[in-house]
Symmetry: C2
């Protein structure tokens, strides 16, 4: 217990260090100069648009969270009116849920502030060369990375310190997840509505460049990068990180020798954050100046440091097991391998991107068909990687005693997510330099500066694919351990209800389990479809508005009159807010219905089906989207007859299809899986108490 | 036992009746007149192309089958060199495998003969009106339907009669499946290579009509309809039907009161065939002359007759249970419901098709996005339907005793497939009238005749979507019972090896099961991707050839010189033959690898993952493909500004993407799932004997 207090204290301290470092980076970015008036003006528009959207989004989410918090207070961990129930447990659960949503919102909000600060500064720095511009973009992203990891460590440690019961963490984690689900969906719909509309009207119809200020959708496109890719992605990884730690802690609590295991979870998280801080602090653009290499090599440095530090800790502390270290290391290494495999399918220096570009020369149907096919194939290495790491972690830790095998899997997930601070920094770098590219174009900074900004942007795209593979892999491992957490929650509920027949597993030959599996497998598909249709519908509305502006505003085509940017921002905002709740709610309601029909065993199957098809679809959509995006860039770089060619037109269509795949539906599935798993765990006692066939 | 002999005898007799009726229909079609010389010439070309392809395909498959037969003889049911092994069992298994491949090949071959006979006759009959043309198309298809069901009943009954051991039927079923897998893949790649290339060069680039004789790919396109949609689809449903009966018989054998149950399987199959014969014999185009209604209403008539006949048999025979009748009826009804749901998503009088057409007006990216989204959603009703029918069948039959629950599920599959004779007739009708439409155009039969042919063709497309939903649903239920068959085979193998710890199920919390699930789920995606890429590559080759012909053959554009049809046929043939083996082989090898790594429990998980993601992807691809096809037709009928509009161009791109989805990858997944399940069952003793982690 003393050892745990030590680690809880150090956790809070490390979070403080991360916050301090983030503050330093924030001030560093802030003091970089901006002088170009055009850029300052546009940047302010972007900032304003992003803030407006975030304010309206958070208002809706706050109401949603309030309703859920009341429901949690009334029903969880057990109905508040039940005799013998301790009301403090219900209050604790509700408060920890609110804390989860609040911390997630804060991290997202600050991320946006820094991102909208960094974009203009990086654009202007690009005039001086690629090195300073890279550093501003990267450090702006790192503020977000440090905050997210700091908040998750602080939140988990605080809740456990105060409450002392890990299962209350499920409430905290659910808070983080539910906010992430809606933030990701809302931001994803916003960003792709704008992106798709801007591309279709600008690039395809009018043949004007990507960030041409005459395009009424161009500001919304840049706003979208911030609210979707910065805030949404931050919420997503906050959620994954919290879920991985929480499920590891819930399992650790049920083991013999609890405190050493619980300490180990915190120790690994602390060391992961430290490794990320070192990686961030030392990241620089090397002499040859390749930004992709710079981003990737800081990831590898962080990985190596983490493996060394955790090995040191294992040698140093009593009760820390080398087997657990092994499981965690397997997780991290498989994460890197998944990232490399993703890179193979999406990097434009590798053959697949070139093949899709070549297919585009035969027309858009071939772009789509080859992208879908390679997207399907790209799922294999990641699925095998997750399968192998889960099996290896299990087998490594099985000899330690009952329950340790599952703990090993959860520690593999913690290991995979340990360097998440670094991952988020790389990921948030992307939208920042994407914005910079737009600002450089709109501020008329000249061809050389735009070229540099383009190079930084392209690196962001490549690295984003890698980090996405990483986060999907981690989500896969996390939900396996959440499945374990669900089973132990069910058994607690059975015991509490006076039952004796505990569940020992979920047999696929059991028809209620099978029933759950089939329905669970369909849910991620329906969820994705709802998000894609949301983008589809909104984008059609926005395209109509852009056409209206070009047809009715005299002088817009010639660039003598400004377009009405705010109208487009408003369409994206309203549409995203309307569509962000239904898909998430559908997933939650489906879980509840399956639970009340088939009971806990159907829910176990439901979770499995959800995980399996969710992983498959998430990998497919993220990778094919990245592949199309980079194929388009590859053609634009002058291959297959370059810009304006038949191949280019086809590649742009591929990219447009890929946009909601990779930035709306694909990465939201992660969160959908986690939310559903947590809902199942939280409601387990209700499913035990009542179901038709259970 | 006596009762069983009775039913076996009646089975053979019923098969003979089906063959006789098929012969009558064949002669009836044959005696219809053909006088148009142009049509006779083109029809001969199609016939010749189809025969050449089938000959070359069957040659490759014969070699493949020979290798597998030798392997079966050596290893199955147990290694031939093992002491105490009865060599007759190995011979029986190998022979029944060969019989399965041979009967499947015969059914496919005769189907092609009749189809290539019917197409020209239906085209000419369309000059006299829609009624006679419909009847020729339908009866031509019915020959195939009757043959397939007759052959499967005859084959299963004969093998069981001679060998007396149902597990030998797994060999017969594997023969049917492995041939179906390759015939479906090969035919599917052939047909879509030609279709896609013809559409892209003809409709999109040159703006000439669908079946314009100037297009060098037009004959290959018609050949493709026959080898892919007639022969391939026939092999597919032969396989499903045999697999459903075989797994039901294997489970029946393990039950107490075996013979009544075994008799019941045959009785239901016999009555299904009789119901189909009645349905086929009475099918006519009604007064209002809507061919879709005519096809659908004969399906409903067949369904009603089957339900009545089986109820009568249940009342009549001792040992026939009403519970089993209930399970089988649930299966059949859910099949009809799945069909109706599919219809909702793909019929052009329903809203979804119109929505996709509307989206197409905003450009091809929206066609693709909305089609993908609705395709995803369309999977839900079928998945829920399969889940509910499996659960209901299980719960209905559970009270009958141990093992009966699983038997109930297998009888739900038998019920769903009982009317397969009718289903195939409807399905084969499609490609026949599709050909007729082409022949009417090439034979210059005039606008009114082409319009009639078009109407017949459109009905074929709609009904095809329904029958596809049906066959995917049936495959879903069949593989559940094959999973049960796999488990009982594993336990037999454990007992034979002197083991005592039998497998009672596959727990998803077991890491080897989970390992198998994740990898199994990735396989259908990779399998689909390989087929799509096969089409993609071949079509690019064929498009290049068509461009070459138009550029180098003087007078081709004007229609004064004939194109070199045979060059295109040759490209489609060579490509299809090259690509048809790898995808299927990959699935089989993956099963073997997973089995040797993780043992029987990993294979159990592998089968589950395969079923779940296979069903999801098959439904998604079949339905989105059908949806795109009919959206294009809807636009071509004059909606959204009709032919030549922006929406039309986008809709054609959607249709091109959908072609390999719905006719190559989607329906092949069915067979892939079945083959993998059978391979697992056949090799179970090897997995029990050796595996790394098992």
């Amino acid at each position: 217990m003393e050892q745990l207090s030590l680690f809880l204290g150090i956790s809070v301290l490390t979070a403080a260090v991360a916050f301090a470092f983030a503050a330093y980076l924030y001030l560093w970015v802030k003091k970089q100069s901006t002088v170009n008036e055009k850029i300052i003006e546009v940047s302010a528009l972007i900032k304003q648009g992003a803030n407006t959207f975030m304010r309206r989004e958070y208002k809706i989410l706050a109401m949603f969270a309030a309703v859920i918090a009341v429901l949690i207070f009334l029903f969880l961990p057990s109905p508040v009116w039940k005799t013998g129930n301790e009301i403090t447990a219900n209050i604790g659960m509700a408060l920890s849920y609110i804390l989860g949503t609040a911390l997630s919102a804060v991290a997202g909000k600050i991320g946006i502030v820094v991102a909208t600060l960094s974009n203009s500064r990086a654009a202007e720095a690009a005039q001086k060369g690629i090195k300073p511009a890279f550093l501003i973009g990267f450090r702006g992203g790192a503020v977000m990375g440090l905050l997210v990891v700091g908040c998750s460590l602080l939140g988990v440690a605080t809740v456990l310190w105060i409450v002392g019961d890990a299962s209350i963490l499920l409430g905290f984690s659910f808070g983080a997840s539910s906010l992430a689900l809606f933030a990701k969906a809302g931001g994803g719909i916003f960003t792709k509505t704008a992106d798709v509309s801007a591309d279709i009207t600008g690039k395809v119809e009018l043949g004007i460049p990507e960030d041409d200020p005459r395009n009424p959708a161009v500001i919304s496109d840049n706003v979208g990068d911030n609210v979707g890719d910065v805030a949404g992605m931050g919420a997503d990884l906050f959620d994954s990180n919290v879920a991985a730690m929480s499920s590891a802690l819930v399992i650790a609590q049920s083991l013999t020798g609890t405190w050493a295991n619980t300490s180990m979870v915190f120790c690994y998280a602390i060391l992961g954050l430290l490794a990320s801080i070192i990686g961030i602090a030392t990241a620089r653009l090397g002499k040859n100046g390749n930004p992709t290499n710079a981003l990737n090599s800081s990831t590898y440095v962080t990985t190596a440091i983490f493996l060394l530090l955790t090995a040191g800790a294992t040698a140093l502390f009593d009760g820390f097991s080398w087997r657990i270290w092994g499981a965690s290391s397997v997780g991290l290494l498989v994460g890197v391998i998944i990232g490399l495999a993703t890179d193979y399918f999406t990097d434009d220096s590798k053959p697949i991107v070139k093949k899709v570009a070549r297919a585009s020369a035969s027309g858009p149907a071939f772009t789509i068909l080859s992208g879908v096919a390679y997207g399907f194939i790209s799922a294999l290495p990641a699925m095998v990687g997750i399968a192998v790491s889960a099996l290896a972690a299990y087998k490594i830790c099985e000899p330690m005693g009952e329950g340790y095998a599952l703990f090993g899997i959860s520690m593999a997930a913690v290991g995979m997510l340990s360097i998440v601070g670094m991952i988020i920094s790389n990921d948030a770098y992307g939208p920042i330099v994407d914005n910079s590219r737009g600002l450089a174009e709109m501020g008329e900074l000249g061809e050389e500066t735009i070229r540099i900004a383009d190079e930084l942007d392209s690196a962001g795209n490549t690295v984003k694919a890698v980090t996405k593979g990483f986060s999907i892999g981690a989500a896969g491992l996390t939900v396996i351990s959440l499945l374990g957490a669900f089973m132990s929650e069910v058994n607690e509920a059975i015991k509490a209800a006076g039952g004796t027949e505990l569940i020992t597993g979920f047999d696929i030959m059991n028809p209620t389990v099978f029933f759950g599996i089939l329905i669970g497998a369909a849910i991620p598909a329906v969820f994705s479809a709802m998000l894609i249709l949301g983008v589809d519908k909104n984008a059609q509305r926005m395209v109509a508005e852009i056409h209206r502006q070009f047809n009715s505003i005299a002088g817009l085509r010639e660039g003598t009159v400004k377009p009405e940017y705010d109208k487009c921002i408003d369409i994206a905002t309203t549409g995203a807010l309307k569509e962000l709740i239904p898909a998430g709610l559908m997933s939650i309601i489906a879980t509840v219905i399956v639970g009340f029909i088939g009971g806990p065993s159907a829910v176990g199957g439901f979770l499995l089906g959800n995980i399996v098809s969710g992983l498959l679809l998430a990998l497919f959509m993220s990778n094919s989207g990245g592949l199309w995006d980079n194929s388009k860039k590859y053609v634009e770089a002058g291959n297959e007859d370059g810009k304006g060619s038949k191949a280019h037109k086809a590649a742009v269509i591929g990219d447009t299809v890929g946009d909601p795949f990779k930035d709306t539906a694909g990465p939201s599935i992660n969160t959908q899986i986690t939310v559903v798993s947590l809902v199942a765990s939280l409601l387990s006692s209700l499913f035990v108490a009542f179901s038709i066939f259970g």
